[in-house]
Symmetry: C2
Subunit: 240 residues, 2 copies
């Protein structure tokens, strides 16, 4: 609580600032605290004061760094989105490169999903908060659709591309519907709400992401194939 006003600039003066122990680096500390709180209670359920208390600093500093509360929220959302997008694009690229000619829906979905599961499993608690936040945004009617679009569309279009190579008979709109179902299932799983623990009376656990990893992939891949098989003649390739 009681912070000592340490004016020590930095001790290790080699390379880029290591910022481990010596220097506060409040910007990151604020983001970490805000991330956890927003994930738990949503944008409106958290005050900038709570964020300040969580970070062990004063409210004014929050505004100094991020301007407005919305600015803080966007910064929280953007920070890990950039990391995720890079990891997922690389994963999809690698999958397509290493399996050219033998692409499957399973493989494409796995390349899309596994980076998230890996981050949640090994990236530390901040990632768990982040995924809980994404799940909420994904299900927010007022501005959720637009926000998800703004931050995640490129990587989703990349997934759709790979999927259309794996399922060459698929109509485009079927792939979008399949993705809609996938993202609903995926974001709910990653947010670890504890719902399935209660429902299953302990047989399944929200935080058992290893149990989810292959099940979700196989489930959705089978779903995509079912969509293709019973494809409606909607707006098929109009013959010329």
């Amino acid at each position: 609580m009681v912070r000592k006003t340490l004016s020590v600039k930095k001790t290790a003066g080699r390379g880029r600032p290591s910022r481990s122990e010596d220097q506060p680096n409040y910007k990151e500390v604020i983001l970490d605290g805000a991330e956890g709180l927003f994930a738990q209670h949503g944008f409106y359920g958290v005050s900038t004061r709570q964020v300040a208390v969580e970070a062990g600093i004063d409210v004014a500093l929050v505004h100094y760094y991020f301007g407005t509360k919305r600015g803080l929220f966007d910064a929280v959302f953007l920070r890990r989105a950039e990391i995720l997008n890079a990891a997922r694009l690389a994963s999809l690229d690698a999958y397509e490169r290493d399996n050219a000619g033998a692409l499957t829906a399973e493989g494409a979905i796995a390349a899309f999903v596994h980076p998230l599961i890996d981050a949640s499993l090994t990236g530390g608690p901040g990632w768990k908060s982040y995924f809980a936040l994404v799940a909420q945004v994904n299900n927010t009617p007022a501005w959720g659709g637009a926000t998800m679009t703004r931050f995640f569309d490129p990587v989703v279009h990349r997934l759709i591309d790979v999927l259309s190579l794996a399922l060459p008979d698929a109509q485009e709109n079927e792939l979008y519907w399949g993705y809609q179902f996938l993202t609903g299932a995926m974001t709910l799983c990653l947010s670890e709400t504890g719902r399935i623990d209660l429902l299953s009376n302990g047989a399944c656990h929200s935080n058992d992401l290893e149990a989810i990893r292959n099940r979700l992939t196989g489930y959705c891949a089978a779903g995509f194939r079912a969509l293709v098989e019973s494809q409606r003649p909607t707006a098929a390739v109009s013959p010329t």
Copy 2:
């Protein structure tokens, strides 16, 4: 805005109050307004004052009827949950009765999902708001899991029962995982966030629930079967 203080008690004095035009029935009016606002902005994003304005009455009346803001929220959530649960239990019962011996995953899922889609399509705008609300609660880490459990567990267990008849080889935990994926996809679809419209550049529409009806059912049924086929030997029936 300017409400006339009509002290007319009721005109048609036959049977149960008809409450169409003559009598206000503020309790329902408040619930309707609150439902729409909560659906759009979440619990913390709405003030009781906004609810009062929306309903065309004073704040004090909100507290008179519902005590606290949380009490109002719970009342909103409960009102349609009861209707839905009754409809879905009847739907599952009818399906099991009329198809004994030929139960399928498709059929069970359809019986579980169609009442919701029907309500959204033909029940009026209040239902659309309600489903948006459910999607948010389903993805709320702090108290979402517990709330969903409290209101919807019985009907979900009924679905699991019918599914285990349709998929007799399925282990129980696989059915719970399959349901987790199903509910994530379903609640996101029903909340109509507009995300897929933007993503698909107009090829698909969030509000096209008829497009979703059979696709979601087939997708998830195929997913359930995939789970059963690649079943892990976890805690299989221990032989005695």
